[in-house]
């Protein structure tokens, strides 16, 4: 498989680096209460939503940007960012046919043809997509098909209008607006994102997916995703992201919250491919994201799978609070850094309920001059009897100018807990490369094979289409890194 994948991608540049010329409706630069009111008014939000934002903003003003992560970068100037940018529709859209053709072209380039999606609607196995372009959600597909099952899948803004009781009840439950600096910022200025509610007893008949795209320059992207799985519900959720190639650093500070009720399960998969900056470390996205799920009730399960290849700086710890008894949290991660990229990523597994279990599999790959850190917390609270955790953190180094670091934190307050931690660091083996080459496989393909093999446990967790995309990305991200 790696074969075809690599052949398709001989181009070493960031392929998704194009921009789209679309008229945008933008807020003026800078951040203050007026901007927040502007955003809220643009979205025609109810009073309670504006209150939520302003409260978060006031909190944020008293917070300091965290510095504990193993990354260094020039802090963004928060007054120099545009907090709202929407592709300007030519008129009110009645159907997909009226979407700006430029926008449709962008999606085609990205490999998501909404036309195709529309034609295929009704096909059970397809994927429903919500597309967030800069600050707003431009199109959600399959909405009607899903509605038949009672599934709500729409943009966050729509959810605020149409399902305020659900948004009010769950927003901020997993990630309170005061949680951390970036989460507070997001809570104040978030512009859109996806909302998903799976009702009692329903298994989503298709994968749900959000595609994020930062397009306009000078903007930040602050989207929020909220996923709720009611009793006995199941959904697999995918998130993809790209951005144009720009010399400036752009800020992406998202919040994702997942809540599972009794016996419910949510699988959340991300292939993160924000623009990483050029080979000298110029430009690229600052990806400061808070993702957290709560297994609110018994026997529920949340699993995060992420393949992180993009961004100049990544700061991200998808976590699970295991509150319900017998609940299960999983974190499967591949993080690749090349050139001057920096990633500090990992997870937190907070065991509160009895018989809760968590698994952490982290595969870091560092190349070039990059730095790649795993940071993880396993916390077993008092009363979380028979809690179990297994963590495995592997680092693979390519070359000798990059760094791999592991920061595991373990806090155990219940004696019955069983916590296992394994960590390995290896260099991509000259022996393995020679062996491949002796069989006729060239250097780049050999690296692709070896790296995909190394990440297999994580890639196997991804839905099929995503796994293929992820393999391609891994190979491309590492091209030219050993040789």
């Amino acid at each position: 498989m790696a074969n075809e994948i690599l052949e398709e991608h001989i181009n070493k540049d960031y392929e998704w680096g194009f921009t789209t010329n679309i008229d945008a409706d933008e807020a003026p630069k800078g951040l203050n209460e007026d901007i927040i009111k502007f955003i809220s008014a643009k979205k025609n939000e109810p009073e309670w939503m504006l209150e939520f934002r302003l409260k978060a903003f006031r909190n944020w003003q008293n917070m300091v940007e965290p510095e504990w992560a193993h990354v260094s970068y020039t802090k963004p100037n928060f007054q120099d960012i545009i907090y709202y940018s929407a592709p300007k529709p030519k008129k009110e859209l009645a159907s997909l046919d009226e979407v700006d053709p430029e926008l449709l072209k962008t999606f085609e380039k990205l490999g998501i043809s909404l036309e195709e999606q529309k034609r295929l609607s009704g096909v059970q196995s397809n994927i429903a997509v919500d597309v967030v372009f800069d600050s707003v959600s431009v199109k959600t597909t399959f909405k009607e098909t899903l509605a038949e099952k009672g599934i709500i899948f729409c943009s966050f803004s729509e959810a605020v209008q149409d399902h305020p009781e659900l948004v009010k009840k769950y927003m901020g439950m997993a990630v309170p607006p005061t949680d951390n600096f970036y989460a507070a910022l997001n809570s104040a200025v978030f512009t859109d994102g996806s909302f998903c509610y799976i009702p009692k007893g329903v298994r989503s008949p298709m994968e749900l997916s959000t595609y994020f795209r930062i397009n306009a320059s000078g903007t930040g992207q602050f989207e929020r995703t909220l996923i709720i799985a009611d009793e006995d519900a199941y959904v697999s959720y995918l998130e993809g992201c790209t951005a144009p190639q720009r010399d400036e650093n752009q800020l992406h500070a998202a919040v994702v919250e997942i809540i599972t009720h009794k016996n419910a399960e949510v699988k959340y998969s991300t292939v993160q491919n924000w623009y990483p900056g050029d080979k000298d470390g110029k430009g690229g996205i600052f990806n400061f994201v808070t993702k957290r799920g709560i297994c609110l009730e018994d026997n529920s399960k949340i699993s995060w799978t992420q393949v992180e290849t993009g961004s100049a700086v990544t700061w991200k710890y998808p976590s699970v609070i295991l509150k319900g008894n017998n609940s299960v949290g999983e974190f499967y991660s591949v993080a690749v850094t090349n050139n001057y990229q920096q990633a500090d990523t990992g997870t937190k597994m907070i065991h509160i309920g009895k018989n809760t279990r968590s698994t952490i599999i982290s595969k870091g790959i560092s190349a070039g001059f990059s730095n790649n850190s795993y940071r993880g917390l396993v916390q077993i609270k008092k009363g979380a009897s028979n809690a179990r955790n297994f963590s495995q953190c592997d680092s693979l180094l390519m070359g000798d100018k990059c760094g791999a670091h592991t920061f595991p934190y373990i806090e155990i307050k219940d004696k019955s807990a069983v916590v296992e931690h394994e960590a390995t660091t290896s260099k991509i083996g000259e022996d393995q490369l020679f062996y491949c080459k002796q069989r006729g496989i060239d250097n780049e393909k050999a690296i692709g094979l070896i790296v995909n093999g190394y990440c297999k446990e994580v890639l196997n967790k991804l839905p099929m289409e995503f796994a293929v995309e992820a393999q391609k990305l891994l190979a491309i991200s590492l091209e030219g890194s050993v040789g």
Partner: protein
Amino acid sequence: MISIKNLHASIGDKEILRGINLEVKAGEIHAIMGPNGSGKSTLSSVLAGREDYDVTEGEVTFNGKNLLDLSTEDRAREGLFLAFQYPIEIPGVSNINFLRTALNEIRAYHGQEEMAAKDFLALVKEKSKLVELDAKLASRSVNEGFSGGEKKRNEIFQMAMLNPKLAILDETDSGLDIDALRIVATGVNKLKSKDNATIVITHYQRLLDYIVPDFVHILYKGRIVKSGGKELALEMEAKGYDEIKKEFEIAD
């Protein structure tokens, strides 16, 4: 097939090959024997193109091409195959996927299309039968967790799949039980044709009962010090290397 003239190779300051001369023609089987550390594996690594070694002198012609000018992968694509003394593990990469990649790379080099999945699987079936390789091993990760004998058998399976012009088998017999030895040897014999050649590196005459060599060479301290027919192997097994060592003793 291959013509090696006055080949010198060193690692760091240490010269390991000190003037190897060897001519192998299509259809021939050559055996190379010699005490531990004499340079047998080094010779095969240098021919295969391992970059740790510096070739300081000499020439190697392979099918009319200057072998030393070719990259490691191009040597393989030209038909040079090395069955490793210590096969390498590649976790997470299935044997099948590995071989399919290799085979298609070789085909692409020769301007051939990728092999259709169906034909490839048929080939896997045919060739695994040849070395009686357990079907499960074909789908497991390359050599990962294989027993010593399974790894060796897998090398011959790969050789059968890739159908090289010149195969160098570096102590493929070591670690094989008697049955496996016979199976592997039978496989090698079945793959033999008038168009390909094999170099068998071994310590044991026993293998040469199954794979009968046309020539036997004794490598000692980086040189071929003696060559002969298959009876030379018997002679060495009976007498050991003492005489050779005395006769060709040289300073390191």
